[in-house]
């Protein structure tokens, strides 16, 4: 005989409401005003995007570990396109290289971080963080539109931007994955990846 595990919480002699016509039904034709806004349906939250951008741009700002809980690929997509556009302004049509290197780089970092962290990490999270931290590289490539980066100033600027990108990326990764004391170990592969992007910008 099966013992009831939970007490009966319904009301006797009163039919429970199973259909409420005032709840929003997700099919077309019910009412246009009840649909959620387009950006919310797509998952694009401009405030969060702005917050994450600020976290990347202030290298000394402490990163909040929970900002990477939602995987947002809209911002990184915009940044990659902007990077390709600034390269285009310098006369280099290299969208394919940007796409290929970012895909392979994200895959490599995903494998490495899964091996190094106690909790795993999802591919979307890695792609999102690496995409956001590409923002300083856009500054470098826009600088390369007018001035050549092959002199001593170019080398110093490139090294600084690579350091900035990898420092931000490693800062967000270790706060999201709770890997204290391993920031340098995470920053170095990020620096190699952003170094390849810098190679595209410089040469």
């Amino acid at each position: 005989m099966i013992q009831p595990q939970q007490p009966y919480t319904g009301q006797i002699f009163q039919p429970t409401q199973t259909f409420s016509p005032t709840a929003p039904q997700p099919f077309y034709g019910n009412s246009f005003e009840d649909e959620p806004p387009l950006l919310e349906e797509l998952g694009i939250n401009f405030d969060h995007i702005w917050q994450k951008t600020l976290t990347v741009l202030h290298p000394l700002k402490v990163a909040d570990g929970s900002i990477m809980n939602e995987t947002d690929l809209a911002g990184p997509m915009v940044f990659c396109l902007a990077f390709g556009a600034t390269l285009l302004l310098a006369g280099k049509i290299q969208f394919g290289y940007v796409y290929g290197i970012s895909a392979i780089g994200c895959l490599g970092m995903f494998c490495l971080l899964n091996l190094m962290s106690m909790t795993g990490v999802s591919f979307g999270c890695v792609a999102s963080v690496l995409g956001y931290c590409l923002l300083p590289m856009i500054l470098l490539s826009s600088f390369a539109v007018i001035f050549s980066l092959q002199g001593m100033i170019g080398i110093i600027l490139t090294a600084g931007i690579i350091g900035w990108c990898s420092f931000s990326a490693s800062k967000i990764f270790i706060s999201a994955l709770a890997m204290e004391g391993q920031q340098l170990l995470v920053a170095y592969p990020c620096a190699l990846l952003y170094g390849v992007f810098a190679l595209i910008s410089v040469f």
Partner: protein
């Protein structure tokens, strides 16, 4: 009423192994993390045992599924009325069986959790191991300890790739970019994995006490010397400097690896064979990296510029300065702008 206890999970076809407990672990789909702390032996026998076990289990699954599928095939051939429904069921079951096998094989072989213990390092450990890789230790009577980690070697190989790419790029070979990346990655990873495997095979022949992981780690850290030499000599183009660095820095890292191998091998002939091969390959690789890509640079420069540039001068290709003096100096403006100027002025 007392019932006889059956062995845990041991009620398979009767040809199953007596280690029933392993089946539960496999079917649970857990990670295959193995505690490597106490494992400093030279044989990977536990891996082989587990591999054989899984292979046998998979074969049994295949046989069982094939038998079930054949039975049902025979059935539905005789019943043409139910053909549609039965064929769908059969197809569905075969798909499920195939998917189960594939996911089991995938979770077993593509389970990178196996490599997880080798990436558990601290920055201070990596730094000290990098420095130690340049210091040969004279103690050869007692097997020297090799750190069995893969983070440092992997990062060093990627650094070598980056340095090679940078060296190829400073020679201004823009058009061949995609091939350059593939060449660099192929060369570096090919050397690391290939020479490690070859030396491991020789070590097996010479009865040396070293595992594949230790060989990979040793050779990986030995690439630190290569990185330093190439970083310096790709930017300062002096042959004499390169030979000096080749002997000093390359020699130090080779000596370190040789000392470790000698401490783990018994017998003079075996030591000579193993260490001679490793030393030759390591030093020649550095020589190859410097001269192969240097020659490419020189070849391209000669064909593009013609005989005007003297052979000892290796500079990036530069567009002749035909700008009037009122404009900003030539090296500040972009190459594109300069090229446009040259084209406009030549018309």
């Amino acid at each position: 009423m007392a019932t006889t206890a059956t062995p845990a999970g041991g009620s398979r076809n009767g040809t199953g192994p007596e280690w029933g407990g392993f089946e539960e672990n496999i079917q649970g789909g857990g990670s295959a993390v193995i505690d490597m702390e106490n494992m400093d032996d030279t044989s990977g026998s536990s891996f082989e045992d587990m591999g054989e076990l899984h292979q046998r289990l998979r074969e049994e699954e295949v046989d069982a599924d094939a038998a079930a599928a054949e039975e049902e095939d025979g059935e539905f051939l005789g019943m043409k009325g139910f053909k549609g429904q039965l064929s769908r069921q059969v197809a569905d079951q075969m798909w499920q069986a195939g998917k189960r096998q594939a996911s089991r094989a995938f979770s077993l072989y593509a389970n990178i959790d196996i490599l997880r213990p080798y990436f558990d390092v601290e920055p201070a450990q990596v730094r000290s191991r990098l420095l130690e890789s340049m210091i040969p230790i004279k103690m050869v009577n007692f097997p020297q300890k090799i750190a069995g980690e893969l983070y440092g070697p992997l990062m060093l190989v990627f650094t070598l790739v980056a340095i090679l790419l940078h060296g190829m790029k400073t020679s201004d070979t823009i058009i061949r970019e995609g091939t350059l990346m593939g060449t660099a990655i192929g060369t570096c990873f090919g050397y690391w994995l290939g020479v490690s495997s070859f030396i491991y095979f020789l070590a097996y022949l010479c009865n040396a006490q070293i595992t594949m992981l230790q060989m990979l780690a040793l050779l990986g850290y030995g690439l630190f010397g290569h990185c330093i030499v190439l970083l310096v000599t790709y930017n300062i183009h002096l042959h004499a400097l390169f030979y000096l660095f080749w002997l000093l820095v390359g020699g130090l890292s080779t000596l370190r690896m040789v000392a470790v191998l000698v401490s783990r091998t018994v017998g003079p002939t075996q030591r000579l064979l193993l260490c001679g091969t490793l030393a030759a390959l390591h030093m020649l690789f550095l020589l190859y990296l410097h001269f192969a890509y240097h020659k490419v640079v020189e070849g391209i420069l000669d064909t593009l510029e013609g005989p005007n540039i003297p052979p000892m001068q290796r500079v990036p290709r530069d567009i002749p300065a035909v700008l009037p003096d009122a404009r900003p100096p030539a090296r500040v403006l972009n190459t594109t702008v300069k090229a446009v100027e040259v084209i406009l002025q030549s018309h």
